[in-house]
Symmetry: C2
Subunit: 192 residues, 2 copies
Amino acid sequence: MSYSVIAITREFGSGGRTIGKKLAEELGYEFYDYDLVQKIAKESGFAESFIEEYGEDASSGGLFSFMSNWGSNISDQLYIAQRKIIIELAEKGNCVIVGRCADYILRDRDDVLNVFVHANMEYKKKRIVELYGETAESPEKRIIDKDKRRKAYYRYFTDRAWGEAKYYHICLDTSLLGLEKSTEIIKNLVKE
Amino acid sequence: MSYSVIAITREFGSGGRTIGKKLAEELGYEFYDYDLVQKIAKESGFAESFIEEYGEDASSGGLFSFMSNWGSNISDQLYIAQRKIIIELAEKGNCVIVGRCADYILRDRDDVLNVFVHANMEYKKKRIVELYGETAESPEKRIIDKDKRRKAYYRYFTDRAWGEAKYYHICLDTSLLGLEKSTEIIKNLVKE
C-alpha cells in the first residue's frame, strides 16, 4: 500500500504543519498550505485573508459569531469551495494537506494516510511563543481558544469528534517524540 | 527518556494484548495479564473469574446491570483493589499493563508510555473469529458491545473519553500497520 495523500489534523502549536512541510519535502510531495488558500480564493471568490481566518475555525469574532450566525450560507459556501479543491488535489495525488477537514472529506479514498498530531500544553506554549511571539492573551488561552474553534468547526461539518484516535491511522505526541522523529515515523509508513 | 511501564489501551479485537505480550518478550519486561488478575484476586478477595468479567467492562448482565447498579460498592471496591496493584506494579517497573484504566491510574508518573491500539471493523471481526471462534452473536455486535462496556467503565472511573488521542503518546491502527510493525514502532520509542 502506498499513500499518495497525507492528511494531517493537528492541535495548535503541536507542530503538525511543520511536520507536513518536512514530509512533503522529503517525499517530493506537494505541500498545500498557502497554495491551498489561493486556490480556494480563486474558486470561491472569497478573499485570501478571509479564508485564512474562517477556513477551519468557528471564529467567534466579526462575521462568524458562532452561536448566532453559524450555519449561515457564507460558512457553508466556503466549506463547499474548500471541499471541492481538496478533492481535486487528492485526485492529482502526491500531496500533504494540513487541516481543513481533509481527513473527513477524503474518507472514502484508500490512498490517504490520516495523521493526528498533538502535544502537551508546555510544549505547545513554548512553540507558539517562539513562532508567533507574545500577545496580550496568555499562550495557554490562545491554544485553548484556537483548538476549541477548530473542534467546533470540525464537529459542525463532519459530525465527528475531533481528535478521536479511531479516525487516524496514527496519532503522535510531538512533546514526547519531537518533530524530526514524528516526521520519520510517518514517512516510513508512507514508503512501506 | 526511558519508559519502565507501557500502558496499552485497546479496542476489542485490535491486537493490543498481543502487541503487549510481544513487547514484553522483546524488552524483557513483565507482561501483566493473568498474573494481574491473580494479584487482584488475592488483594481483593474477588474470584478470578469475577475480575476477568467485571474488571474493565461495565458488563450489562448479572451483578452489574449498568444503569441500576453501577456505582455500587462492589464495582468501586474492585476498582480500588485493581488500582492499588497497578500502582505497585508500576513502582516495581519494567512491565506492560493492558487495559484496566492503567493509563489513567498512572497518569502522574513520567515513566509510563501510553499507547492506544485500534483497527477497522473488518480487521477486528476477522481477528476475533480466529481467536475466539463464532458465537450466536455476530462478530460486529460482540465488538461494538464489548467496546461500549469498556468505554462506559473507563468513563465512570476516569471521567475521560476513551480513545481520545490526546491521552496517549502514540495511537496506532493495526489494520494499517499490522501487529509486528506496531510492536516495532512502540519498542523503538521505549528504547530511545
